[in-house]
């Protein structure tokens, strides 16, 4: 039950809006953060909190691509394949995933660690090719950085190559 676990967060979220339904996406995020995906039980509970019917929650949840209604791997590789990234090699990056992890778009590695999704523009066209893994951006990918990212994630669950706060071209360095 989300309510018991995240009572304070939920109250905080609800306090931002004069109309309860506005809290729907934030609460769906909370559910996703909790279980890794948005479960039916969570949708029902959220419906009740917001005085909506479960179908109302469901229709909203299925409209947005970032809400996973099914489980995904521990690391969700989302590679931008829009034109701007494609011009500078995003298809190659997708190819690396295939050769290095053996998965194509929509697939998850057998160990449940990695899921690959191809996504549309993530607003990092100037630093393409790029991908988002869970919450983090990785930009200006090369095969070398890509390998390191995978290795670090497997090893430490995180990788220092993640980028941001974003600025490109970068500011001159302080003396």
């Amino acid at each position: 039950m989300l309510k018991e676990k995240y009572g304070a967060e939920i109250a905080e979220i609800l306090s931002h809006y004069p109309v309860k339904r506005s809290a729907l996406i934030p609460l769906l995020y909370l559910a996703q953060q909790d279980e890794g995906y948005v479960s039916e039980a969570a949708m029902k509970e959220i419906a009740q909190m917001l005085r909506l019917t479960p179908p109302q929650v469901y229709e909203t949840a299925t409209f947005y691509t970032m809400l996973n209604l099914k489980r995904v791997g521990k690391f969700h590789l989302q590679i931008c394949k829009s034109l701007m990234c494609a011009l500078v090699g995003s298809d190659t990056v997708i190819g690396w995933v295939k050769t290095k992890l053996g998965i194509g778009p929509g697939e998850t590695t057998a160990d449940g660690l990695f899921t690959l999704s191809t996504v549309e523009c993530l607003a990092a066209c100037g630093t393409a090719p790029m991908m988002q893994i869970n919450e983090d951006y990785y930009e200006r990918l090369t095969e070398e950085t890509f390998d390191r990212i995978l290795a670090d994630l497997k090893k430490d669950g995180t990788c220092s190559l993640k980028t941001g706060p974003f600025m490109w071209p970068e500011a001159p360095r302080a003396q």
Partner: protein
């Protein structure tokens, strides 16, 4: 010249027209006979302009405009017939057709499909779409509704209807883009009110009824426009038949008082009367068993027995009981038969179960036996007060009017009912309520008194009334002021502040309609509470205002007709008092015969009479007292003692099983006549199929009795009967699409305020006893279910699929208290008996109460006691205190 500012003038294809401000171009066009093609537009729904089919040219606008969302403005010039517009329609249609499977040969919509029709009109040639069509995975949707989402044109009419009109929100457009699919929740089957609205409103064959799947092509069907028999709302339905088989029921948009909307009972319940267990031949009891007989034998038997008993014991040993499901013609003939042919006023109808309470109160205070408002007044009301009605379940279509008033016109909704606001699969009117008082049925009286007290104390009593009827104002004010807020709060659980706010809302309303429903009308003291509600309208000065009124909700489809036809002991046709000398004289003139003068026995009095041996013969038409009344009334023993029990029935009910003669009656699907709905609107009933087997309409049977009794009441057809009714009640009959309600009789109001109120003011301004609920008990209430109506609907294969059996509905807190969960067995008991059933936990049931649907409560009736209203003789047996124990 107020009208000119409220209308605008425009031209459609050069044709000038003036329309009310706010009219959509598509509507304006329709008025001049220009039909603009459309999918997503529907007059009931807010414009969504998603299909883009209805594009038109509007002068001075560079782009084509969607006529379904463009409001007509002064001087606008619209073109719908140019090449540009035609090409646009064609191209949009091409898009819509792109992904549509051309499976018309196996589509039930074929022949009545908008897409098919427009395609025929615009794109006679083949499609340029040569790509792969989208395919949706087929998922089980529901037992009654079939979806074929490949056919969906994504107009969202179904979803919007379910939300905007029904307030159920059971349908979800899932996903995005071309892959958007209409579903319920996840992969779960649809769980909703099953109003059939989505089936009716879908312009293509994406949502269809499973009850009639693959059974017909539209052009094979014969149609009959008639009226639904499942509640007092009086919805117009179109019954479609094929070779004497009932295939489907629908209702045309804009038709009838329901404007094309239906509920589950109306849409899916139509098979009730074609159930195989229908009685199709007359039955006579021989050697203790009911055996088949000919009509001749049966009629002769009844006539002989009647003559014998009448000769031996006189006419006062007879009684008659008729169902409020019969036509006006039958109700009229029934009371005439009882009063003239038999010679007694011992007669009653199902209106006795509750509706009479509301009507008698209206008669006394405002001098009418009908509403002074109509459904239109409900939709236009600015304040609606619902008392004791779970309206969306009992009178769903009147409920839709309430929803429309609140959702579309922002009326203030006030509710007093034993119901908790909770989102569920069935709409709940208290969810829309601005001010809801959740009160147990036994304390409705206290709640209404609290409201009256707040009106008086808040100085909401209308000024001129103070002068015109100072005594009345003073007495009633004094009476409520004697009540203490502490007592009121103790009984209702409602704080004073709530009453104060509600009183202010009522007083501040311009168009105030009060709707008392079955939970109130069938409860103990209901007559007095109705009077008090009328006092509320009177004191606040609303009673005589236009658009304001008191509107009790009838349970049976023709309870109102039963009263107007004089099918209750104390009333003559026209709902005139039997004791009214002028009325009696008038009837005598019309019938050319004297009406028996002795007061008649009502339902319970007849039962008691039978028990005591003073009633020896009983004619029962379509009623089942043994199945409906609690055993505490000894009804079965009483009927067992009768020397003659004649039942006219569709099914072998518990009562019919005791009869000496059972006669097969034709159902409303099989006969002509009229029904009068809850608002007093008289509508035509037309046969859709021939009478099943040897069954005959009830009026024909009565007429035949009279002939065999040598006092013929002969009529060629139902129309002739209606003609006679018109001579007795001038103007009676169907008079156009909307009722013309009576106005409040000011003389009657004056009589009431001048002293008529006095006789019972003290009693009805007294708080009902406090209901104490010992630990381990709940207050059990009999309620109506949306999916059933009496026991008739339990014969409907459609409705039985949605709700096959009864269950005890309980609040989660109580359920936890008794360690019960949905699906558990539970034993209910009190000093009168015990009953075991299954539990269903529902948020909407208030704590401390538990509900059992009427239609499956037969064996639970033994837990209830029956209290008779001293004034209206209405038996009340709707609540009982019971102990709850989990059964293993």
């Amino acid at each position: 010249m107020a009208t000119t500012t409220d209308t605008v003038r425009l031209t459609i294809d050069g044709i000038p027209i003036s329309v009310p401000k706010g009219t959509l171009v598509i509507e304006a066009a329709r008025r001049v006979g220009v039909m603009i093609p459309h999918f997503c537009y529907h007059p009931k729904l807010k414009p969504d302009a998603n299909c883009r089919m209805c594009l038109v040219e509007v002068e001075k606008m560079p782009k084509l405009q969607t006529s379904c969302s463009t409001v007509a403005t002064e001087g606008m010039s619209v073109r719908t017939a140019t090449t540009v517009v035609h090409d646009a329609h064609k191209s949009v249609l091409e898009f819509i057709l792109a992904n549509h499977p051309l499976d018309c040969p196996v589509c039930d919509q074929g022949g009545k499909c908008d897409l098919q029709d427009f395609s025929h009109q615009y794109t006679a040639t083949g499609s340029r779409f040569a790509e792969t069509k989208r395919i949706f995975q087929k998922e089980y949707f529901s037992p009654l509704i079939e979806t074929q989402m490949n056919r969906c044109v994504q107009c969202l009419r179904c979803v919007r209807y379910c939300d905007e009109v029904m307030d159920v929100k059971a349908l979800a457009p899932v996903g995005r883009g071309t892959m958007t699919e209409i579903k319920s929740f996840g992969a779960h089957p649809l769980d909703c009110e099953f109003c059939g609205g989505c089936v009716q409103i879908c312009p293509v064959g994406a949502i269809t009824s499973r009850l009639s799947m693959y059974e017909y092509r539209p052009w094979m069907l014969k149609r009959a426009d008639t009226v639904c028999t499942f509640c007092g709302d009086g919805c117009q339905i179109t019954v479609q038949t094929k070779d004497q088989q009932l295939i489907e029921v629908n209702s045309a948009q804009g038709a009838g008082r329901n404007n094309g909307d239906l509920c589950a009972r109306g849409f899916f319940g139509f098979h009730a009367t074609s159930h195989p267990s229908r009685i199709t031949t007359p039955l006579i009891r021989r050697n203790g068993a009911l055996v088949e007989a000919t009509w001749e034998e049966a009629l002769l038997f009844v006539a002989e027995q009647t003559k014998r008993l009448k000769l031996a014991h006189g006419p006062q040993t007879f009684g008659g009981l008729i169902s409020g499901r019969c036509t006006n013609e039958e109700l009229y003939l029934f009371q005439k038969f009882m009063r003239l042919t038999i010679g007694t006023n011992n007669l009653d109808s199902s209106a006795r179960y509750g509706h009479l309470n509301g009507v008698q109160a209206m008669k006394r205070v405002q001098g009418t036996h009908r509403w002074t408002v109509t459904f239109e007044d409900i939709t236009q009301a600015d304040v609606l007060l619902l008392v004791g009605t779970n309206i969306t379940e009992t009178n769903p279509i009147t409920g839709l009017k309430v929803k429309e008033a609140v959702k579309k016109h922002h009326a203030t909704l006030l509710t007093i009912e034993a119901l908790q606001p909770a989102i569920g699969t069935i709409s709940n009117i208290t969810n829309l309520s601005q001010h809801h008082l959740c009160v147990a049925p036994t304390q409705f009286g206290s709640a209404v008194l609290g409201l009256l007290k707040a009106v008086v104390e808040g100085n909401h009593v209308e000024g001129t009334l103070q002068q015109r009827a100072s005594d009345y104002v003073a007495s009633s004010s004094k009476a409520v002021q004697q009540l203490s807020w502490d007592d009121l709060t103790l009984r209702t659980g409602i704080a004073r502040e709530s009453f104060v706010q509600m009183a202010a809302s009522v007083a501040g309303g311009r168009r105030v309609v009060v709707l008392p429903g079955q939970t109130l009308l069938r409860s103990q003291g209901a007559y007095g509470i109705c009077l008090n509600l009328l006092d509320l309208l009177l004191l606040t000065g609303k009673l005589t205002e236009t658009g304001c009124g008191f509107a009790p909700l009838a349970e049976e489809n023709n309870d109102q007709g039963a009263i107007e036809m004089g099918a209750v002991a104390e009333l003559l046709p026209g709902a005139l008092d039997l004791t009214d000398q002028d009325a009696r004289a008038q009837m005598t003139r019309a019938w050319k015969e004297e009406i028996p003068s002795m007061a008649g026995a009502s339902l319970i009095e007849m039962i008691d009479g039978a028990h005591a041996g003073t009633i020896k013969g009983l004619f029962i038409i379509g009623e089942n007292p043994v199945g409906s009344l609690p055993p505490q009334t000894h009804v079965k023993e009483a009927l067992d003692k009768l020397e003659l029990l004649v039942c006219q029935e569709l099914f072998l009910t518990e009562t019919a099983l005791l009869a000496h003669v059972v006669l097969p009656a034709a159902s409303a699907m099989e006969k002509a006549g009229t029904f009068t709905n809850t608002e007093g609107h008289v509508q035509s009933v037309r046969p859709a199929i021939d009478p099943v087997g040897d069954s005959r309409p009830d009026w024909e049977i009565l007429s035949a009795f009279s002939v065999f009794l040598s006092a013929p009441l002969e009529y060629g057809d139902a129309k002739e009967l209606l003609k006679e009714i018109r001579t007795v009640i001038p103007g009676y009959g169907s008079l156009g699409p909307t009722p013309i309600p009576p106005t409040v009789d000011r003389a009657a109001v004056d009589r009431y305020t001048a002293g008529g109120y006095r006789q019972d003011l003290a009693t009805r301004y007294t708080l009902p006893a406090r209901t104490r609920r010992p630990d381990g008990t709940v207050q059990l209430g009999l309620v109506q279910s949306l999916f059933h109506s009496g026991k008739l609907s339990t014969h409907s294969k459609g409705l039985v699929q949605i709700e096959p059996s009864g269950f005890l509905q309980m609040n989660p807190v109580d359920a936890a208290r008794f360690a019960l969960g949905t699906g558990n067995r539970v034993r209910l008991s009190n000093s009168r008996g015990e009953f075991t059933t299954t539990v269903k936990v529902l948020d909407r049931v208030p704590e401390g109460l538990a509900w059992l649907p009427d239609h499956f409560a037969q064996d639970a009736l033994r837990l209830f006691d029956c209290v008779i209203d001293p004034d209206t003789k209405v038996p009340s047996y709707r609540t009982a205190s019971v102990s709850v124990v989990k059964a293993t």
